[in-house]
Symmetry: C2
Subunit: 371 residues, 2 copies
Amino acid sequence: MSDADLPTDSDEDAPDGAVPFTPVSEVGEFGLIDRMEAALGDAASARDLIAGIGDDAAVYRVGSAGSDGPRRVHVVTTDALVEGVHFDRTYVPLRALGWKAIATSVSDVAAMNARPRFATVALGLPNNLSVEGAETLYAGIAQACERYGLAVVGGDVTASARLTVTVTVIGEADEEAVVYRRGARPGDLLCVTGDLGSAAAGLQVLFSGKETMEADAEGDGAATSQPDLIEFAYVVERQLMPQARMDRVEAWAQAGVRPSALIDVSDGLASEAHHLSQAGTVGAVIDGGLLPVHVQTALAAQRFDQRPEAFVLYGGEDYELLFTLPEADAPKLAADTYAVVGQIVEPDEGVVLRLPDGNRVPLRAGGYRHY
Amino acid sequence: MSDADLPTDSDEDAPDGAVPFTPVSEVGEFGLIDRMEAALGDAASARDLIAGIGDDAAVYRVGSAGSDGPRRVHVVTTDALVEGVHFDRTYVPLRALGWKAIATSVSDVAAMNARPRFATVALGLPNNLSVEGAETLYAGIAQACERYGLAVVGGDVTASARLTVTVTVIGEADEEAVVYRRGARPGDLLCVTGDLGSAAAGLQVLFSGKETMEADAEGDGAATSQPDLIEFAYVVERQLMPQARMDRVEAWAQAGVRPSALIDVSDGLASEAHHLSQAGTVGAVIDGGLLPVHVQTALAAQRFDQRPEAFVLYGGEDYELLFTLPEADAPKLAADTYAVVGQIVEPDEGVVLRLPDGNRVPLRAGGYRHY
């Protein structure tokens, strides 16, 4: 139940009559999730369930207890992409949307150190989407499924006010291979795959392109300021067609390495580092000089008068893997497959960013909010 | 991918540019599903997958091949309930909505002769739903999970224009216990649990109550025609809080009976009988004199100037189980736990309703359309 993108406006005409009307914005994302868990009570626990709500995916045992070999588990994760909340059809191609719906759920499976197997897709179709549009969206779904080796085995199609794609992915792993958000120990290296902030930079480029198009339509000649999509092709692709890092999950298995903690970067590095801190059980020091930033991300930040660190720390949707590793395991991994961005420390040190001058600033937990 | 409730209006301002714009209404529910399957291609098949798109739930093997005892399978099904399409908040209490979202997916699991284990819930929250409203909805979800013995293990919460509840349920069974839509043989009895048409009758009562309220608000004194919700309590409950027939699945297991084919009645008896006919591989004769109709359904039909058979055949949302059984197995089941409504016949006889005068009328496949 992560990545909630919630209504922020209060509605004075509460339809619930005498019942108190607390707007969702008042309790916030995590407050709402806590309340949902409380409302579920015993309905959130079960035989064979190893981990439920609260990680990137739930984990449950499958098969009979007497089977030979390592005990297998399945993981399951559900995410919805809603038009006007998570994407804007004016600059998100339908094929990319289909790809992204699968890839982001596969990323949750990767974040458990598991492999995706099966998916279901519930599609909410507005009147202004054609059959051809739906086919294009499914072609993107198929493309991602082929890339990551999973199959769409079921789903639902319904009318909807806005285009909505809800994907559930089921993955599998050996029970002892699964890695959770909890598990980091003081001294562990804090590491990340790929580069960070590029998806947020890509969103800025796309959004700016849309504004320019709209200004052009009004004839005010603003087109000269439109960023070049070719110039920013890398960050745009990172936003539109993110990659789930199954390649790293495979590499860890090959190298016999199991991270001590693992999460995917969907809400920005600051938010994910707080998740790994396990509600303050450990601290984390992120070294501002070690943040992996692509040159296009830096250029986009410059163009839009922002700091690249803001994209990295509070942007979102990079879908890279943030993980912790005992220092002794680091030599087992190829140095060009990850970057060390900091270290897990004692809890009293908090979750902080170490600046080049040696000063430390606390990192707020707030992650990316769509729009 | 059953139960599609699709947009029916065409939009002249096609956003897709030069791409042909075929409105979904032109290809229909099953046409769209066929096109989605075609777009998926190889992405709809996988190792360990026994049955994918096209039944009430997908079926896949779990656990290692060398395990002792019967081979276990999991089943998975996804369904979305969308405000304004599947329900109207003016007469559907939020607790009932939560219950129904779970119960209808559990019914799909029952329709595979499997048992529900785990669920994920993706909630789309509009601004005008309070935290308290969301909690009430979750209380209904919890109530249904406790009733049917499954656990909510994950999900997603997002902003949405309309309240949307998308539920995925994972169930389990022995591989040889699973029953599919295909499997009926000429000579098999066509049987149904409970009574049919009551949920459609309940919807009429609720909808009529809403119209009366609205008329009252305009002060035209139409309140005298409002149906009594107490008088129609049974059919209203059948609409608002349908029961998944897990009790019958358990009874079959106790009795050592495995139906030859099985489906749940979500779209009306006519539509489901066509599904069991396996694209014309077998026929079905439904005896119009044997349809199980509750007295309140008959009274509601009278009140609203309709025929109860219309509720039974083309109504929907009863979530009873329609199954076929070799005649020799019938004595193993308690006679008060099901009704024989007809027989499976040779394919050239088609899917027909036998009237009391002996005449046969072909049953069209069209099922229930919400609103």
